[in-house]
Symmetry: C2
């Protein structure tokens, strides 16, 4: 058997760790290099994405590497959005009318550790921590790394290099600064930032709120959400404008202002967070950005994947899922082209085909995530939106094989690409919202009749758009 290539993977976060595991399973020699210390040996920072939403696309990636069962032990199912109003009233808006469709709250460091442990057990994997990537020689699959223990710079090289070094990717910066090809690039910041807080467990280790839902306090411009952790606590995230708003990070500079803000906007959450002000000023405020770029590869030698290639805002709960799906798509492409050129692999072809297949989907989920930011903070409470969701729930419960909402298409239908989910989902939303707004769905109609009308209208919306695009 021909010895397979040596692959250098930069960044041992969720994507890099899963990719390492999978490529090692395929027989490659993998060196995984990470700027932070080994997270299995150090205390975690407070206030940095303690938990995440894991759904079908992410589970598919874990399944590919045979690690889904282990991961599920870390999961807490969430069946819908628990909406909290200013009076502390709540109602559950389910994610789907089908009972087997839910998302999971999972610990980011917990899952990362699981992946690192699994990768480390492979004899063909080497993991190096505490080495920050300074620059990459894209044409030669090598990089200069600073060893933070010694302060010295060292070089690592391999046959190919893959950057999974996150939204602030050094590998991507090397591509941006490389002047030998045209690099399309976009970084878009929302006017809002985020801050992570905590609802602690009770003294008995119990949850202070329903652990089976993603809690959300939508308030127009600002929003609070909370996801459960295994230890009985919830990780809470506040999304708030930086400035130019009645309430914004620039104005919340004293404990009093923070407490009176929460008292007015999120009174029920406030009662669950005894040390709110302390946390508020101890934890950092982070920006919310979308990054898109192309090409992802150069010279058939260097590639970027995961957040390094397509960072998205967190409002669809798809960041990690999209990155894990990257690994699945990459694996499929590799399967098709591996060793097919006189026994060798043409990596330029693998990388190009991967991008051709994948870019439109990561662009789609980036746009969907920004859409959902507006939906969550503004629309969740709107009457028209609620009527739409109610109708969709009925469709999904009554006709589970016949109707999938945009949320279901994105979250629970791994066989449909993000691009297709965006196209179909947006058309469906437009159809339903306009049918309701125009009074074309009446009380007398059966649910079946309503579904037929919605399907017909969705088809028309898609057709009208296609005529403009194709000018046949």
């Amino acid at each position: 058997m021909k010895i397979k290539e040596h692959i250098l993977i930069v960044g041992a976060g969720l994507c890099g760790s899963l990719l390492t595991l999978r490529l090692a399973q395929r027989g490659y020699m993998v060196t995984l290099i990470e700027k932070r210390p080994d997270l299995r040996q150090v205390e975690q920072d407070a206030g940095r994405s303690i938990n995440l939403a894991l759904s079908d696309r992410g589970l598919r990636g874990l399944r590919l590497a045979g690690i889904d069962s282990e991961a599920k032990k870390l999961c807490i199912p969430m069946h819908g959005r628990m909406i909290h109003d200013r009076q502390g009233n709540t109602f559950l808006s389910k994610y789907s009318g089908r009972s087997n469709e839910y998302i999971n709250s999972i610990s980011r460091p917990g899952l990362n550790m699981l992946l690192l442990d699994a990768a480390e057990q492979m004899s063909n994997v080497e993991i190096i921590f505490n080495h920050g990537c300074k620059s990459v020689d894209l044409e030669n699959a090598s990089g200069t790394f600073k060893n933070y223990s010694t302060g010295k710079e060292v070089n690592y090289s391999a046959d190919i290099l893959i950057g999974t070094d996150g939204a602030g990717s050094s590998v991507r910066k090397s591509m941006f600064n490389h002047k030998k090809f045209l690099f399309s690039f976009s970084q878009q910041w929302l006017t809002h930032g985020y801050k992570e807080l905590e609802i602690p467990a009770t003294k008995e280790g119990k949850y202070r709120a329903d652990k089976g839902a993603l809690h959300i306090w939508p308030r127009g411009e600002d929003m609070l959400i909370a996801l459960p952790n295994l230890d009985g606590s919830f990780t809470v995230t506040l999304f708030l404008p930086y400035s130019n708003s009645e309430y914004c990070f620039d104005k919340l500079t004293t404990a009093d202002s923070v407490l009176s803000y929460f008292k007015k906007e999120f009174p029920d959450a406030l009662t669950l967070m005894p040390n709110l002000a302390e946390q508020f000023f101890a934890n950092p405020t982070g920006p919310l950005g979308t990054i898109k770029c192309s090409p992802w590869n150069c010279y058939g030698k260097s590639l970027i994947m995961g957040d390094a290639a397509h960072a998205i805002v967190p409002f669809y709960g798809q960041g990690m899922n999209a990155s894990f799906e990257d690994v699945v798509v990459f694996d499929e492409i590799l399967e098709s082209f591996e060793g097919k050129e006189n026994g060798s692999t043409n990596w330029n072809t693998v990388f190009s085909e991967y991008e051709k297949n994948r870019l439109k989907d990561t662009n789609a989920i980036a746009d969907l995530a920004v859409d959902n930011f507006h939906e969550m903070k503004e629309h969740t409470a709107s009457e028209l939106f609620q009527k739409k969701r109610k109708l969709e729930m009925s469709f999904e419960a009554e006709f589970p094989m016949d109707y999938y909402s945009k949320y279901s298409l994105v979250t629970f239908n791994e066989k449909i690409t993000y691009e297709e989910a965006l196209k179909r989902g947006r058309a469906q939303d437009k159809a339903i919202l306009n049918l309701i707004d125009d009074g074309k769905l009446t009380e007398e109609m059966s649910l079946e009749e309503k579904l037929a009308i919605v399907k017909k209208e969705t088809k028309d919306v898609l057709h009208d758009d296609a005529v403009v695009r194709n000018l046949k």
Copy 2:
């Protein structure tokens, strides 16, 4: 009278020269600094945008500075697109059904010289050539410039600094690299590049083709266009993929390949270009990019305008026009806020209001220009598209006060913003294309009936979109 601020303008291209002239007219002391030599004293480079399309929005800017009459002497009116097919047949697709609506071919260096001459005549203007901007101190409105004559670096500073230094703006790069605020930025490259060529005048100084039109040879993926010059020549631009196409820049590497390509695709153009191959290899190939960013200003001290803030692809002929309109909008905002804070001007307010007012419009024209790239190369020859244009021409001729095509809204209606033109124009296109495709406009109908149906359908399209956006 209070002495007005000293303004440092970086970049003496079209936008910077007009801005200098206008701000000097308002009484500011202006230093205009440019990296290139004085273009009035040196030979022009071949192959760099020798002429441009000037239309209503651009003329409005020139009118504001009282220089429109002089500029019109440099103009050659073009009333429509003269479409050339592969057999050399031509037909004229007019820009508007109204006879007073046309665009103008104008010499870029000619207009630039006119603006520099006018600015230089003002006693409160200083122009410095041959000084390249190396970096900008954004907080202090100062910059480091390399004097290319002496090789030495010098500093210039003022009360405020405005970067009009084009698509590759140094001032914008300083903003991008400045880490104290979130800078949203996007650079998007088309897969196509461009190359400028020339159809020379006849020996008698006559035009070899109709000078009253913009000539276009649409061929699906590639396209040739030609605009007339005052000296009887035409400046021709070839738009062609860089690679991955039957014909592309990567493959056109020999005189034979270039000539046989033109012979097959543009035979009538070939006969007008005796030294085609020579020109082809002498002139550079340029990329086609869109740049968007925000914020445009920082600290109320530094601002970017024109291509530096919003470079667009040339397919709507609006690049220069948008930059001149920038000057008009900036002048209006300045008029509202100048001296209004205890006799002083709050530049932070001026800059912020300017961006608030203007950004959505420059984003819109950027998107429209990319749309038009696809329209020009793919759709101009499509039957459905031609039916739409024919109907629009009839509407505009018969009901000149009642109907404006997207092209007319963008090009000839300076009172309508680019954003509004995009919204209304796209809705109108979608309505007409679908009405034709669905056979809902029949032969028996009068033109008036057709217009009423189109207007109703356009309103419905806008309404359906609004319901989704607003979720009222």
